[in-house]
Symmetry: C2
Subunit: 364 residues, 2 copies
């Protein structure tokens, strides 16, 4: 075997069960660096902005590419739920995928190195995270108990040690941290240099700021909850697409009894976006999140909501009722949430039943 | 300054505001290794077991030592709430201290090294943890936002960025992990070699297994909640002393609006305790914790409980009512909880009012 293995490339894990979704407005030269890790996988590229522009993809990658014309053609009037001129458009890629798992990454993210100097295979770590259980019901002080060399510590109830299905794996970023515009403005030179060698489950009942830069999830389990909202062109807000998806998916995972992990893997985030532009996109969000967070902290999903689609529709009604008062934008967003689910079910006809049957959902 | 500083030892931080509490049954040779870090501080040694035995303390340490005779003399009949032949006796040291902060450490814990090979000043890191705020209301994906080089990430509500007072700092262990007897039996050779460079707040509403090996807290804020229960001699259970204290203090901190941090610092835990002996001590706890955890997850403290003492007395009533059914032991424990508070207030007459006034308690 030893003489043999050097000549034959190992088959990438879950090669036929995972799509890599990349939203972009430019040539995908960044893929060169990812070649050793992504080459065996199928890519779904969602081209944002001017559809007449040609996006160059390096040789040797297996991909499909959708621009705005494709989105409009495929979804018809329902295309209104897919944002334009904002990376929120990535969720269109989630919808057209037919795979069980999704990894999504931004085109300004490169391969990071661990403290030994080795290149980090981010995708492999995400897959490990997704394939091992989560522990949202009790905190383990030695972090992910399923990692090699770790376990549940003394005092951890034995009845909870099986864990629950992991729905989302949220990876982090070396170099440019994911800061908001005010923090970017105040700390223009701050770089993340701390490599924290941990994966952990975000406890049930706790919200977190989900970043879409380096994110994987079980599409079969929670795909319909990963809607990135209405952002960018024609909308009063930007840069809250992933946050919105994160708050929704966390509340739904808590309801369905699934887990969300955060921590490893790191990618190298190369480019700080312009804080002045970001401030313009974010500033309404900075006010609104003060109302959105308490909303998601207290929102209740009924026992009848036994599928992600049902949870999401309930959530859209609550958004309309409770957040519609904050700004008319949320009325529009609530309608788009419904459109998203309709479009999802149209493109994924068996998904509604699948979701209900899958993952031994334990509704509260 | 450069030529000067080499000759003069720096004053240890909080030297006059912190006591180090050590429960022991043997000579404290382990302090030699801690000399550079502990020498300026006052030690409270709680001698467990045979009071006629002499415990040797290395030269140069400033300490007071209490054996069982001292405990009986000082507390009279209330001494019944202090465990014997179990490290739970350490909480007597918390009670007789007059300082604002406590650090407690086991005598089989040595100085650990960080990945660069440098000795870790565990106490200094605990003090950093206690003096910086906690963030129990929302999860920060880059861990403690108050650490150098870190901050709150995009999507973190600005209204929550002041944080809340930190009541407890829970440190971890390299080498021998804090496993229960079944895990020790199954994985006799497992050692913790993963240094996770993180400090984080345990979210509100989430319980955790608190280990007493390497623990610091703000005694002025939560001292009366750090009761280590009835364990060891004459009791049906052992090795749940710190767990009990951890569940109580977490529920009380959640109620009062204070935070608990876990992660750094690491100590080097040298000695695996005997798993067969441990199993004997633990086995009732292994059953009981399946009832205790749901109890603590659902217990409610009333708005009227505006001091830690009041919270603790309420909790003792709930323990009697709800856990008394599980085993008569919990009736006894509930009574001991009341005795503990009476003894605490006797030795700390101004503490009841202090606790109420302190730390801008925000009762739910």
């Amino acid at each position: 075997m030893a003489g043999f293995s050097a000549a034959v490339k190992p088959t990438p894990i879950l090669k036929d069960e995972l799509d890599i979704v990349i939203p972009t407005i430019r040539n995908l030269d960044f893929l060169e660096m990812w070649r050793p890790f992504f080459e065996g996988y199928h890519l779904i590229i969602v081209q944002d902005g001017d559809p007449s522009k040609t996006i160059k993809v390096p040789e040797g990658f297996d991909y499909e590419l959708y621009n705005r014309n494709d989105i409009n053609r495929i979804l018809g009037p329902k295309a209104s739920c897919i944002s334009f001129k904002d990376s929120a458009c990535r969720c269109f890629g989630f919808m057209v995928s037919k795979k069980k798992y999704i990894y999504t990454i931004d085109d300004d993210c490169f391969v990071a190195k661990d403290p030994t100097g080795a290149q980090i295979n981010a995708l492999e770590q995400h897959i490990k995270n997704l394939l091992s259980p989560s522990t949202p019901h009790f905190f383990n002080t030695l972090y992910d108990p399923y990692r090699e060399g770790a376990d549940f510590v003394r005092g951890y109830p034995f009845s909870l040690r099986e864990g629950v299905a992991t729905a989302v794996s949220h990876g982090l970023w070396m170099n440019i941290p994911d800061y908001d515009a005010p923090t970017q403005l105040v700390k223009p030179l701050e770089r993340n240099t701390r490599y924290v060698d941990a994966v952990m489950t975000i406890p049930k009942g706790t919200l977190f700021p989900m970043c879409g830069m380096n994110l994987a999830f079980n599409r079969e389990l929670v795909g319909p909850a990963l809607y990135f909202g209405l952002m960018g062109d024609g909308q009063p807000i930007g840069r809250y697409d992933d946050m919105w998806a994160g708050w929704c998916v966390k509340v739904i995972c808590d309801h369905m009894g699934w887990g969300i992990k955060t921590g490893l893997p790191y990618i190298w985030h190369s480019k700080a976006s312009n804080p002045f532009v970001n401030l313009k996109k974010e500033y309404k969000g900075i006010f609104w999140q003060e109302e959105i967070i308490p909303f998601f902290q207290s929102v209740k999903i009924s026992k009848d909501a036994t599928s992600v689609q049902k949870c999401y529709i309930e959530l859209s009604k609550e958004v309309k009722e409770k957040l519609g008062k904050v700004d008319p934008y949320f009325d529009k967003l609530a309608d788009a949430m419904v459109t998203w689910i309709e479009a999802w079910d149209e493109l994924n006809p068996s998904s509604a039943e699948k979701t209900a049957a899958n993952g031994t959902a334990k509704a509260k």
